[in-house]
Symmetry: D2
Subunit: 347 residues, 4 copies
């Protein structure tokens, strides 16, 4: 029997860059489904893998098909799968978890100690097909636009962040208006924030932030953020900080604006060990802080679904560019430019 | 020295009805302010007092100036008062609390064991002036419309109810679309509910519910509520019940629609001891239930302010009728008819 | 091949009583383990099945092996099982859940819509062997006494109840000192309750309550509970009610003693629809109430393990009687007498 | 009229050291009480003031009577005071708060923006008398030992820390076994921790930690903390970190031992800006962190009372040395030695 082949973007070897290659269409286990991919989108993580930085070099074992933000159609399912159905239009959760460790058994699957991430630890979705656990294939309405379906996984980060704190009637500072920051702004708006302030170092993204629902968007270094927000908040500071940048200066600026007793959710990845004003920002301020990793499995998916289906959040502005799979170099250039929302690849 | 007099609507004696009378303008204590009333609105509690039912007879000691939903201008303040300022436009919290009992000392002032309610336990606001503790006078922006300023106290009930549960991305059933139910619908919409279903026995109020943000409004007895909501929720039931009616049939219907593990907030006052399916509605369902009394002092006021100032909630449709103080009989007729939102009185 | 047989206590037909029978040793599915039973204990549910009351008649399809509180040794495991190991000493969770419904997927497995209860919906553990999902077999230390290992499942109800509220430094009323109530008292003590008051209608159980850590144990009808507890709490009432009886009079007494803003956890199963003072006990009191069903899967198991291993809770007094499997009639007599703790059966 | 004089320990001028002086007995405001001091204890803050470090120099305006951990008898009360009574034996809360700012009005009095700290911002309690707001004088049972009564304020820090997280059935690491750390260990034990590990750099304090309820006490630099705790926790790490030291190395060690999804409460004051592994310790770990400042007003006081009156916490070992007021130099020497628990001064 001849093995079926498919087109895929792969990390072929331990050095910078990706390649388009012909690889075997994956076969499925009894608990898996085979998904014919309709679209995928590029994440910051993909850029790390492309650039082959230290993190990538320490984690990735080439060759691997990259890409973990994926939607498509179920075309085959394993013998033990009861749902989704063949024909269902699904978005994928990228973390394949074990259901057996103490985290999975206590509603903390996002912290599973046996997690495998598609496109990183196993083959991903910049390809024509992917094999994945049935529980990771989340059914969408058949008519959900591709541009929204493809964002579910990444949107989950935004929902997880915004839902980890209490934003109702609160003044909120979002530091970092990259794609997740932008979607977090939309969620913060949808769930009743009183005021949303955004900071970034890209004017393009600051404009985007206003479009997604921010009341005010400030350049983190060129505008006088502290003075402006002090005035805006009548000297009180913000109730909540959503830290989406990982930049030490933004972390410091954000916590400086946080009022005593305030809450902070931290998704941005910092460049390693940083200097931090422990007493002022945490202890004396009685701050409540939570680190955000991934999405809650599967609570966040239900929440994200609710926000989209009710129309409370409109993600349609988010995908700004679409390329074919083999145009991945152009896609990565656009993504790197800082002048884009999400960038989508179609097979 | 001649005592200054003012016009007031009073409960003059232990029997049904109110009267307009000339009474002394109140004098203030060191910790109090004198407020020149610009508007007041009628609450269900006022109807109980008017009708002199058992509750009213057991609680009220005539004569008393009635009315507890009030806004006006600070015209004088006691020696110990630091704010608000004379000239401030304020809305009043109706519960005068002691700041000294264990409830007040642990952030539960709404449960203060020494509470006095204006218009019930002491003179209220259907009058030209009222004396009240400075902490009960909540400053508004000078240009806040009277029709919104007068609602703050009652709106607080709605905010307290909606904020007592987690409505984000949830399907919500609001049983009872009286004024507080209607404002609760608006809050539920503002803080990201996925779907809002309302029930009532007045078609006028069901229409009003749709205007305030409900997705679906059903007649509690003439429509097939259970079947319709079962279909709407794909057989799952609602995530949250906001019980605003106190009607035993609505309580039963509401809990029947509540999914296992769901949350319920209970504001509606029932007619005494009722029959309730304990196991089905609470124990086996693992329901989480919270009774709602008043507003959280003063957290709810900050939350209410945030929702109004951000524009997340628009209360402008709520006041449907305005009368002069001496037309209180007409006002009460309109209020009793069930064909009104809030009814406002101006001195 | 000859089928292997084993001894089991079964519900043979749709009428009162149990029988001892020889039935086939169960065979296991790929995800299951076969457990050689070392001990089982009797639950109130077993009495309902024995007596064939309405609930039992509506739910049970004879013949079925009864019993759901079980411990034993893993003697065989299916091809897909990675743990526990053969030879492990395990206690069983009685609810076999699907891992796939929305409840299972959001950390609420105890509310799984496809639950099967061993000894009720499928064969249970008053037998020599039981086949069960590997995830339901919870490993114990090899030297854990049988009398404690057998209680894990039932102890989980107690832990779930006590952990559903905040008992730290609180005054607590436990209404109902049956086995779960007694274990709940021990948990309440272990996690820092300020005072624990117990009520029951059996003097035997009231003595038992004191032994398990209650400060005061009152006869619900013969002692003046309200007056005594009012004095004990300096007129304030209790901070928390743990309702373990289901008796309408205990529910009313318990809520009457609950202070405003207090918490209540409800595990006791009432005799159907009951009369309840809605306003006084819930709405005006601003009570926070939670229904308790089963145990949280699997968080409660981790919590229960922690309490036992640290020595914070000592369950050794709980099993008061032990019988052989074929002496089940005597065991049921003792259990029914009200003069017992837990009653254990050994094969 | 001759002014009455009393003995007091004062910070007389802007340089190191204290002096004993004769100062006027304070007079009280209408809302204050005069307390005849029976005992006071020394806090780390007092050492900062004694040593006149940067913090002290920036905050203190000499002359001021020092000392903020105080108990005594109410001997006079202002005209507006309703309780406590003259003759009551009281412990003092050291933060005098305004009851009027947004923090005070939302149950966060410990963050009051107008706080005055006795012994720092106004005259304190190393003296014969102190004048203080009536609400700051917390009544004790008349027979509460002085050695326990004097600790209430400081014990409140321990209770606030331990109650800010969920310790029930959890494995807990307490970094820093100074007086507050030691009392926190006792609280953690009382509310059901599964295991309590303590670290410090004083062998005296490690022994003390075991006496207060720790299961294991390790020298932070001489023992292999990471390896030992990894073994103790079966490779999982601890569920909760209570950081009581402020030492950067302890902070790093503590967070390194914290398991994913774990909780941390931070009371220790670090030496300014520190280096911190943001991603590893917060973001990727999905840690939940809360800064601890003071005590919750007044919820912590009720909780502390409950733990003491129930006997759940025994503070009697804590005071290890007692001196007369004029022996303050010796008291400070003992306190500085690291070979003491709490040091008490009596007038």
């Amino acid at each position: 029997m001849t093995e079926k082949l498919m087109k895929a973007v792969i990390k072929a070897k331990a050095s910078p860059g990706f390649e388009v290659a012909q690889v075997p269409v994956p076969t499925i286990q009894p608990n898996e489904v085979l998904v014919k991919i309709r679209a995928a989108s590029i994440c910051g993580t993909d850029l790390h893998i492309y650039n082959w930085d230290d993190w990538a070099a320490s984690r990735i074992k080439p060759p691997v098909v990259v890409g973990h933000e994926v939607c498509g159609e179920v075309v085959e399912r394993g013998s033990a799968v009861t749902h989704p159905e063949v024909g269902d239009f699904v978005s994928l959760e990228s973390h394949v978890v074990c259901n057996a460790c103490s985290y999975c058994r206590t509603g903390q699957g996002h912290l599973c100690e046996n997690t495998e991430l598609i496109g990183v630890d196993r083959d991903g979705g910049f390809a024509e097909y992917i094999a994945i656990d049935a529980q990771n294939a989340w059914p969408n309405p058949p008519n959900l636009p591709l541009e929204i379906a493809v964002l579910q996984e990444n949107f989950g980060n935004a929902v997880h962040t915004a839902f980890a704190v209490d934003l109702r009637a609160k003044k909120v500072l979002v530091t970092g208006a990259g794609p997740v920051g932008l979607m977090t702004i939309a969620v913060a708006r949808a769930i009743g924030s009183r005021a949303i302030y955004a900071t970034d170092i890209s004017r393009y993204r600051l404009d985007f932030a206003l479009k997604m629902g921010a009341d005010l968007a400030l350049h983190a270094t060129e505008d006088d953020v502290i003075s402006t927000l002090t005035t805006e908040t009548e000297g009180e500071g913000v109730d909540v900080l959503l830290e989406m940048s990982g930049a030490p200066s933004a972390i410091d600026q954000g916590f400086s604006m946080l009022k005593p007793g305030g809450e902070a959710a931290l998704l941005g990845v910092a460049p390693g060990v940083i200097e931090f004003d422990w007493n002022k920002h945490l202890v004396f301020k009685a701050a409540k802080v939570v680190g955000i990793y991934g999405r809650r499995l599967w609570e966040t998916w239900y929440q994200a679904r609710g926000l989209i289906r009710s129309g409370a959040v409109d993600l349609s502005p988010m995908v700004t560019h679409t390329f074919k799979l083999e145009e991945f170099e152009q896609a990565i250039d656009v993504m790197t430019s800082g002048e884009s929302g999400k960038v989508m690849l179609v097979p």
